[in-house]
């Protein structure tokens, strides 16, 4: 059993890979179109929370830990090590943030979170790189160990502390947040006026300049740093070559073991940092079960982002946004999203019918779109239990529509032994 998985269904891209045309202009255009769509949707449905700065601030809060976990996944998978243990490393990070944050202050908590995540990464690295164990097996084991270790250690270290107990830490000191004073209030005024498109844009910009946690900024800096290190330095080229073809890297004198080991350590500390964000910024407390599967979602965000930093930010943002609007607006807001979904589905169906002549797939897409649209018009809201599913359904839908264009590192998940490439 190897973790590379089956290739069936996935389109194998051979030959020259089409260069993605992601010039800054294009990105800006996509962003403007997206804001425009949301503005239209808000106007049509009256669900004002779709673009409020509050919802977007919540979205950022939900996206950052997922993005950090995804970034961790990116480092390790780019070096060829599948890391499903992100969840466990993240859990270790929450405890690290709680313990070090309580005893030595929030900045130490952040470092402690990264350190504890790195311990998880070290276990994964020893198992997969040194012993060549199946990556998924090791990841599953780390998830179990992380889950148990955090609970065990929490009971050991937080019992009897003031305000803490066996399942939670005392409340932790907050990390600073930043605002740009004048701009923030000006945008706030603009947002209140409910002008089509302009207010929506103001809401989005306002959420980016008001009470932004310093950890959010660190996370964004880490994304940029990751891109620069992995794609613009010799070190990064070598690291990625270990994920694409370790044997070729070996013949060029790269110490593949060392690069893989380092990548997995970085991966663990980033996932731990994601856990640290949950404890220190999102909740100001360590609590058992705080991660709630966000490590897995981070992995999904990274795959969705085609193993690229920019893409994974997009994936994390999508998840954070859908989660935020369902948490804040509940049924009404999710109900509004249904209209968008119906339009998108019908659009895709028409595209497939007219341009690619896939009658069955196009027909199914249009039919489902029509059902969703019909449901939108006959119903007032969506049941609470369903709104909770929104981010998962959104991720699944987006993956179903885009998965065939994805390409993972060629040697991702494959075992590598030095000197065995013949």
């Amino acid at each position: 059993m190897s973790t590379a998985g089956l290739k069936a269904g996935a389109q194998v891209i051979t030959g020259a890979v089409r260069k993605p045309h992601l010039s800054p202009g294009r990105v800006a255009l996509v962003a403007v179109v997206a804001v425009f769509l949301i503005a239209v949707l808000r106007l049509v449905t009256g669900a004002n929370d779709l673009a409020s700065s509050g919802a977007l601030a919540a979205a950022i809060g939900l996206a950052v830990p997922i993005g950090l976990a995804g970034l961790g996944g990116l480092w390790s998978e780019r070096a060829g090590v599948v890391n499903i243990g992100l969840e466990g490393m993240m859990i270790l990070g929450t405890w690290g943030a709680g313990f070090f944050g309580y005893h030595y202050g929030p900045w130490a908590g952040l470092l402690g979170a990264a350190f504890c995540g790195m311990v998880g990464g070290a276990i994964h690295a020893v198992a997969t790189v040194v012993f060549g164990v199946d990556h998924i097996v090791s990841g599953v084991a780390i998830n179990i160990i992380g889950y148990g270790a955090a609970k065990y250690l929490a009971a050991r270290t937080f019992s009897g502390t003031p305000g803490g107990g066996p399942t939670q830490s005392p409340s932790l000191e907050a990390l600073p947040t930043l605002s740009i004073p004048g701009v923030s209030s000006a945008l706030g005024t603009l947002e209140q006026k409910q002008i089509f498109f302009v207010s929506d844009l103001a809401g989005i910009l306002r959420s980016l300049v008001t009470n932004v946690s310093v950890v959010t900024l660190i996370a964004l800096a880490l994304v940029a740093l990751t891109w620069w290190v992995l794609w613009r330095t010799t070190f990064g080229l070598r690291l990625r070559s270990c994920g694409e073809s370790p044997v070729a890297a070996e013949t060029l004198g790269v110490n593949v073991y060392r690069y893989k080991f380092m990548a997995v350590l970085v991966s663990g500390s980033l996932a731990g940092l994601g856990g640290g964000y949950l404890a220190l910024v999102a909740a100001n407390i360590y609590r058992d079960g705080q991660t709630g599967g966000r490590g897995y979602i981070g992995l999904a965000a990274m795959i969705f982002g085609n193993w690229r930093p920019g893409g994974l930010v997009g994936g994390a943002a999508l998840f954070g946004y859908t989660d935020a609007i369902q948490l804040r607006g509940g049924g009404t807001t999710v109900h509004a999203m249904l209209l968008l979904l119906a339009i998108v589905l019908v659009g895709i169906g028409l595209w497939q019918l007219l341009r690619t002549h896939r009658v069955v797939q196009g027909g199914i897409a249009i039919a489902v779109g029509a059902i969703v649209g019909g449901y939108f018009f006959v119903s007032e809201t969506v049941a609470d239990e369903f709104t909770g599913m929104t981010p998962y359904v959104a991720t699944l839908l987006v993956l179903a529509l885009s998965s065939q264009r994805l390409r993972m590192p060629a040697a991702d998940g494959l075992p590598y032994r030095k000197g065995e490439g013949h």
Binding site: L6, V140, A141, I145, G148, K151, Y152, L299, L399, S403
Partner: protein, 371 residues
């Protein structure tokens, strides 16, 4: 020749022994570092369990076994069905709703309910299979998402159909009629508690798993696909259809996971139905190396540790979550030990071949024999 076989057997037994030793040492170190009483913890975990606990251990293993077999079906062909957790909950809910109505008499009701569980579990897994073969979505991701969706769906439907007796605020499906409840066996003397009657179902599934995988063409194709997809394609296997079939089968068995609990203990599906069985199944399948007998041992060990650790908090004052550390370390140690032993065996074989070849006069030293 005989000596080699003996050595091979020794190596095969060395791995699990090594793993348990490692798990023992690592856990002890953790306990020492945390300042917990090492000796007392091990005394608690290693005492002979009382009859009541033995029954609980067997019952727990019965359920884990089904879950691990469901996972193992996917593993054998390199499919990672992480969604057993969602599949068994959706299936158990559907079966509980039907069985609770009591439309059919006694055993027939059980039979049809099992059928419903199998179909619903299979279809839920089939969604992930379909997404994989037609849209190329990694089953790891889709099943994780489907787990979360299952949680929402079941809790929504549960409140719709919940047994709304006036004055009660329980959220359970209707209780299964007594005639359709599966009686237990009094296997263990010294306790009134009974072993689930559905232990037979687990055994049946275990035997079925072994026969289908090892004695049928389908099983051969499945294993071949798992070993090498390209080789399987070359020999005429339709990999997409195999993915779909394996996913449906895995989900069908996953659908049965909740049945011993439903018909032997809870008699209805509610918010307190045991969660997390799917994830334990993954670890146990790995522990048992996807072999039906190995999985049985793994399930028993898992259940044993779980039941024995329940007393840790009361008797020793140590958090019972310690058991997860032990379980995780065992999984990791087992696979590492197997890998180490495999390499040792390989080296031994290579040395043997080299010796035999160099014994023949005039032959050159074989290339690459000494790695």
């Amino acid at each position: 020749m005989n000596a080699t076989n003996l050595r091979k057997l020794g190596l095969a037994l060395a791995a699990p022994a090594l793993a348990i030793l490692v798990a023992f040492m690592v856990t002890s170190v953790v306990l020492l570092l945390a300042g917990d009483p090492v000796v007392e913890v091990w005394t608690q975990l290693l005492t002979v369990p009382r009859p009541r606990l033995v029954v609980a251990i067997i019952n727990g293993a019965t359920v884990y076994y089904l879950s691990a077999i469901a996972v193992a079906i996917g593993f054998r062909m390199n499919l990672f069905n992480i969604g057993v957790d969602g599949q068994y909950r959706v299936a158990a809910f559907a079966a509980a709703v039907f069985a609770g109505q009591g439309w059919l008499p006694g055993p027939l009701n059980i039979f049809v309910s099992l059928l419903i569980a199998v179909v619903v579990g299979g279809l839920w897994a089939g969604l992930a299979g379909w997404l994989k073969v037609s849209r190329g979505v990694s089953e790891v991701i889709s099943t994780i998402m489907l787990n979360a969706i299952a949680t929402g769906l079941v809790s929504y439907l549960l409140f719709k159909v919940a047994d709304s007796t006036v004055g009660s605020n329980v959220t359970n499906t209707k209780t299964i009629p007594v005639s359709s409840q599966v009686p237990g066996f009094s296997l263990i003397p010294g306790t009134p508690n009974k072993v689930y009657g559905f232990i037979l179902l687990s055994m049946l599934i275990g035997v079925g798993y072994w026969v289908v995988l090892n004695k049928t063409r389908f099983g051969f194709d499945l294993r071949a696909t798992g070993r090498s997809e390209t080789a399987a394609v070359a020999s005429g296997v339709n990999v997409k259809r195999m993915v779909m079939t394996a996913m449906l089968l895995s989900g069908a068995v996953a659908g049965l996971v909740g049945m011993p609990l439903l018909f032997g203990q809870d008699f209805s599906y509610g918010t307190t139905f045991q969660p997390g069985l799917g994830f334990a199944g993954i670890a146990i399948a790995l522990l048992g190396r996807n072999h039906p007998a190995g999985i049985a041992l793994g399930a028993l060990l898992w259940s044993y540790l779980e039941q024995q650790s329940n007393g840790l908090q009361i008797n020793v004052g140590v958090s019972s979550e310690l058991v997860f550390i032990i379980q995780g370390v065992i999984v990791l140690a087992v696979v590492i030990a197997y890998e180490v032993v495999r390499r040792a065996g390989l080296r031994m074989e290579q040395r043997n071949v080299a010796r035999q070849l160099s014994d023949q006069p005039g032959s050159p030293a074989p290339e690459g024999a000494l790695v």
